[in-house]
Subunit: 747 residues, 2 copies
């Protein structure tokens, strides 16, 4: 690709970005779009309804950039939680390291590349991009020392920065856990695979087991019930309300105990005669969820954080497939539908989804190979002869070679997050955060494989497989391919990077949905269900893949670095703005994405060093090549150190911290308050039921049951992952307890 | 190789085995060899000294075989512990599975191989061994179904047997833990990496930390001291005794408090004037081991087993590299010299030894390649022209091709266990059992790589590396090579298998040492330091490698199976005899070798299935080949199930079991007794010091200090690992407490 073609591509992108950002600054001022662009604020603050017309609403302004820039870390952590801050830190780390890499490589490496061969240089726009890559340095050149030195500088800076960041994130994580207000999940464990005994309900088994072995610390427990039963109950409740409300309109006030539940898990109406209703209902008569409807899973509450963690970490039974315990996720983080999955299935499910994900990864090669074909014009005109006339035009050629391939790749990539989220749901994770983390990892592997390796080692599907059957040739093959693919990666940064940031800030999907809802369905009211949580599972892999491209291209094709830097800077601003205004944190992930970021960055660094070994070998500079080996070893040792020093903190809580927190709460006398909250923290009935019941309460006199029911049906919140719409099941859940002690539905 | 040459080799071996076994049955009757052949019995029972001559002593007899056969499992577990029983079960499993494989393959597969091609068969002794392998089946033959079916039968039987054995071993392990008498290690954890605080000793830090966070369960603790200090103290004690004993001969009796220790960590003699000695020595004056000599490690004792396990499994500090806890090994199992290694070094040591072991593995290729060269006579006569005359003799040719190669390989292999033991010591394991397990794993990987893969894929060193750079070709290459190498493996079974069993029962090294000691050094007394513990780290890998050869050769060259079966049967008898008579169990490993056995057997099975895919592919039977895939998947799924169902029990103790044991002991009132024993269980001073002091007590009047001192110097017990002599450091250790409370050396 020529430098000119590349500039065309850059121009298109910069223009597009400018247009989209300006459009955004206008659209965000329109009151009808508030739910799209200020979802988080809407959820926390009541904004006054100033719908009147003023000119300022239609003039683009850079206000949002200033606001995003000015926000402090404390505000970010308060608004978005530790996950948001960790994500910010990833971007800041990327900006820092690529700023240093850009300075070193543009000053030291780029001139070496450009003047690497004795040749007649054309004017720069007409120059091929290859002239700026390491491919232009002649064999046995002494200038390769510059590349070697640059890689040393980059590697050491990366390690130092990574260490400092890891340290600071772990400290913040610890501080965050210590200072956090009451978190019921700290006192709760999830027990699965409760053994079935013929003459006992699961609930009794749990009580017996924990009063026996954890007598001093066991507080109470709460069973998980089968999902189908709850849905049936809710439908019945809807029916009941329909029947009751006309009665209540006729003057009689509804009593809180007007509906009770029989043993057959359906509702029946008590006679409306006051004398019968006034009789107190004996709890013994009522069995909301009979023994058959219990799942072999329960939440068990403990008196202190420490004892809960102990119970979660120990092996309970001499049969490791019974009484499996783990720390419970936060109440809003629980993925209820997976709780009823039998524990014995889990390992099979994990293997099955792993296989499915691998198959998906390889089937994806087909569109990617097609995309790759598009960059070669002669192939294209052979396959589609009718395009030949079009392809002769100089401008079209530039667009097609410089822009189209990565757009098509990007569009295909949009199918990946929903697929991976589906796989992760099937895997049986019990928390949304864990599911998101698992999907994030899958997307990361997928993107690294399909965007990086397959594109680098382009060619037919069969050739790619051949390349990977040979261990030793990998560095050589990569070394050959990366300088050649530099132009592809540069356009990839522009399209998938810049343009997707613009799409992110524009929120194209929610915006269109909102428009459709307001102007076609004519629903003016904004519902809180439209709010989304931050799609870390797509955005963290995106940052990481750009990092991988940056590291591997840094000394090979340093021209990519300024674009990379601009990308990360834009990302920094855009995501800050989004965290401030759009996404609400539904649960606290406590920065668990950071170890993934750390490990993948080390992987990228080591990969770039291994590729450098291959390149220096090919350029007949064996000394520079052998100078790379200690660098690889040092990087791996550094990673091992970090793995020992920091990563356990992200997996387990320390006794010191737990006991100190317990003592603090005991001394301040908060414990009893906490215990009371615990009982109602985990509830399997979706919030919609409560809303629904509250609504019934409110609208006792006016009869719009239909609209309430439609609210019930829409209660499944969908989460938009970056660009693709991914259903996270039904969330959030209400603070309504389903324990046996409260079998009466409050209306 | 011809069948005749193979029979020669077999003949030599059978003869050699017969001679050695007969010799053994005579030698064991000689009273002078008792310490070699009845070490364990000698240690437990006092045998009367019937040194008079009778003719029966010089007639070979099969008594020992009968006795070994008749021993029950209960006796084995009582005598050798669970490890011995698990090892017996490995042999029984191997006998069972190869009996079934032999029946199936000899009846079904062998005729198919022999008549696989239309050819003129010679007389059987003149027939090449290749005729009996799958190599003789013609391409596209329908008879390959027999091989496929046999492999199905073998795989399913293996899985069923493995499952039953794993289940029974875990049950026995649980029963063993529950029924076992007091084990101090159940109440003790090892704390390492205690943080350094300027104004506090490590001991104070430990006390402060555990009284703070484990107030209700912490009992006491015991510091680990630097090794050099203790050695200096012992030398000083020797000096002191020399000076004291002449005095005591003069009539004054030694008082137990005649020697005390000053702050400078050396001894001084109190004045022998009775009035001064009678004054009680204040503990405050004495500081046996000053703060500078403490290591950052300590044993911490807890009140119950449960709390000890909790403390061992939890992350203690928010810096995961401080206050690192693990369950303490048994007192006799502690590897004291590694306790003083800083915890921060451990990860570096692990990486370094891993690298060293890998380098050693590859350097070993050189002798193996040489050995391989010997099997090719034409190469040999080219390299050593002077041998040409010798090689022309038919008998010599048979010996060289059939026997010599595996003998040389075996001799080289004798260097491996000491090296691997050294690597494992350097790795920093704190217990002998863990060190042995780690060395066993290293030896296993080493043997599988060097005996199996390198021999199978024989050729030059460079070609071997080339083979392994190509993934997909591995099954094909193995499929080509294994039938060809069948004759090598058969002789390997005969030499390394049968002959090494004869060497094992003969105890060649200890026997020669005993002879040297008794007839040249003229030391008639048997010392208990000559007793050895069972070399599981060499014997388990040996069983596993034979299993691997058996599984992979079963359908390729079924002729190997009868020899394999005889080998395992002999091994069963020999090792039973050795467990009964020779080896003493110094600590309880609790069957931790079983998961290694299970996993490696699954690996062998899957490898043989993958090789079968390659063979069926080569023989142009794609349907049989594709029928193998479900088998591979099923085997891997079975292994995953076992990994979830059984292996956690070998890593963690279950709460149920621990608490039940604690309650039992509390109810029976044994706890106080246990606490008292705990304080003296772990002692860093070797037992020799106590022996030495006891001896001084005894020989108060006769003056043979020199002989006692020589005993002190010999107190480092050496452990003979199969064949090679591996020093396990100095063991066993005395029940003498080095706590501050007992600063007086008891004489």
């Amino acid at each position: 690709m020529e430098f000119g073609a590349f500039l065309t591509s850059a121009g298109i992108n910069i223009g597009l970005c400018m247009v989209l950002f300006s459009l955004y600054s206008i659209l965000r001022k329109q009151p009808s779009n508030r739910v799209v662009y200020f979802g988080r604020r809407l959820a926390s603050v009541r904004i006054r309804n100033d719908d009147f017309f003023f000119i300022d609403r239609f003039v683009p302004s850079p206000n949002w950039i200033v606001k995003a820039w000015e926000t402090t870390e404390e505000e970010i952590i308060k608004i978005g939680g530790l996950d948001a801050l960790a994500f910010q830190r990833m971007l800041i780390f990327s900006i820092r390291i690529f700023a240093i890499a850009a300075i070193v490589c543009l000053l030291l490496v780029l001139p070496m590349n450009y003047y690497g061969k004795e040749m007649q240089h054309k004017q720069i726009p007409a120059e091929s991009l290859d002239v700026f890559t390491i491919g232009n340095v002649k064999e046995g050149s002494k200038w390769l020392w510059a590349h070697c030195l640059s890689l040393y500088v980059i590697s050491f800076t990366t390690c130092i920065l990574l260490f400092l960041e890891y340290k600071s994130i772990t400290e913040m994580r610890l501080a965050h856990i210590t200072k956090a207000p009451l978190n019921p999940s700290h006192f709760t464990i999830l027990v699965r695979s409760i053994p079935w005994t013929p003459h006992e309900s699961y609930s009794d088994s749990v009580k017996k087991f924990f009063t026996n072995y954890y007598a001093s610390s066991y507080l109470s427990h709460q069973m998980v019930y089968q999902r189908g039963i709850l849905q049936k109950l809710m439908l019945d409740a809807g029916e009941m309300c329909k029947m009751i409300i006309p009665n209540s309109i006729s003057g009689k006030s509804l009593r809180p105990y007007c509906v009770c539940v029989t043993n057959t898990t359906s509702f029946k109406i008590l006679t409306s005669e006051p004398e019968i209703v006034k009789e107190p209902i004996s709890y013994a008569d009522i069995d909301l969820v009979t023994r058959e409807n219990e799942c072999a899973a329960a939440f068990v509450f403990f008196k202190t954080r420490y004892t809960a963690v102990v119970a979660a970490q120990m092996l309970q039974s001499s049969n490791p497939m019974l009484w499996v315990t783990e720390l419970a996720p936060e109440p809003h983080d629980v993925f209820w539908s997976n709780l009823s999955i039998s524990y014995r299935q889990l390992w099979l499910r994990k293997i099955a989804t792993l296989l499915a994900a691998i198959v998906f990864m390889f089937l994806f090669l087909i569109p990617v190979t097609f995309v790759q074909g598009l960059t070669q014009l002669d192939k294209l005109s052979k396959t589609f002869p009718f395009l030949r006339g079009l392809l002769k035009k100089d401008y079209m050629r530039r667009v097609i070679t410089g822009y189209l391939p990565s757009v098509i790749l990007m569009l295909f990539l949009y199918t990946v997050p929903p697929m991976m989220m589906l796989f992760s749901s099937m895997e049986g994770h019990v928390s949304r955060s864990e599911r998101k983390r698992s999907a994030g990892l899958k997307i990361l592997y997928f993107t690294i494989w399909n965007v990086f390796f397959v594109n680098v080692l382009s060619g037919s599907v069969i050739r790619q497989l051949n390349v990977f059957t040979s261990f030793r040739d990998i560095p050589k093959e990569l070394a050959k391919a990366i300088p050649k693919q530099a132009s592809f990666f540069m356009t990839y940064v522009l399209t998938s990077g810049w343009a997707s940031l613009a799409c992110e800030v524009m929120q194209l999907f929610p915006f269109s949905y909102n428009m459709f809802k307001k102007f076609i369905l004519r629903i003016q009211e904004d519902s809180s269900e439209d709010l989304m949580s931050f799609p870390y599972h797509t955005e963290v892999p995106r940052v990481l893949v750009f990092g991988l491209i940056g590291f591997t291209c840094a000394i090979m094709a340093p021209l990519i670095l300024p674009f990379m830097l601009v990308h990360f800077f834009l990302a920094y601003l855009v995501y800050r703005n989004q965290i401030l205004n759009v996404y609400i944190p539904k649960y606290e992930g406590e920065g668990r994405f950071w170890p993934i970021f750390h490990n993948t960055t080390i992987f990228s660094l080591v990969l770039s060093q291994i590729i450098a070994i291959g390149v220096f070998g090919m350029k007949e500079s064996p000394i520079a090549s052998s100078f790379m080996f200690p660098l690889v070893i040092c990087t791996i040792l550094f990673n091992e150190y970090c793995r020992h020093r920091f990563s356990p903190i992200f997996q387990k809580d320390a006794v010191e911290v737990l006991i100190d927190m317990d003592r603090r709460d005991e001394q301040s006398g908060k414990m009893n308050e906490i215990y009371q909250q615990l009982h109602s923290a985990y509830c399997q009935i979706p919030i919609a039921t409560q809303n629904f019941c509250e609504s019934v309460h409110k609208c006792n006199t006016f009869n719009d049951i239909e609209s309430i029911q439609s609210g019930l049906e829409h209660s499944e919140v969908s989460e938009v992952g970056g660009v693709s719409q991914v259903s996270e099941g039904s969330e959030p859940w209400a603070i309504v307890n389903l324990e046996r002690e409260s079998p009466i539905i409050r209306i």
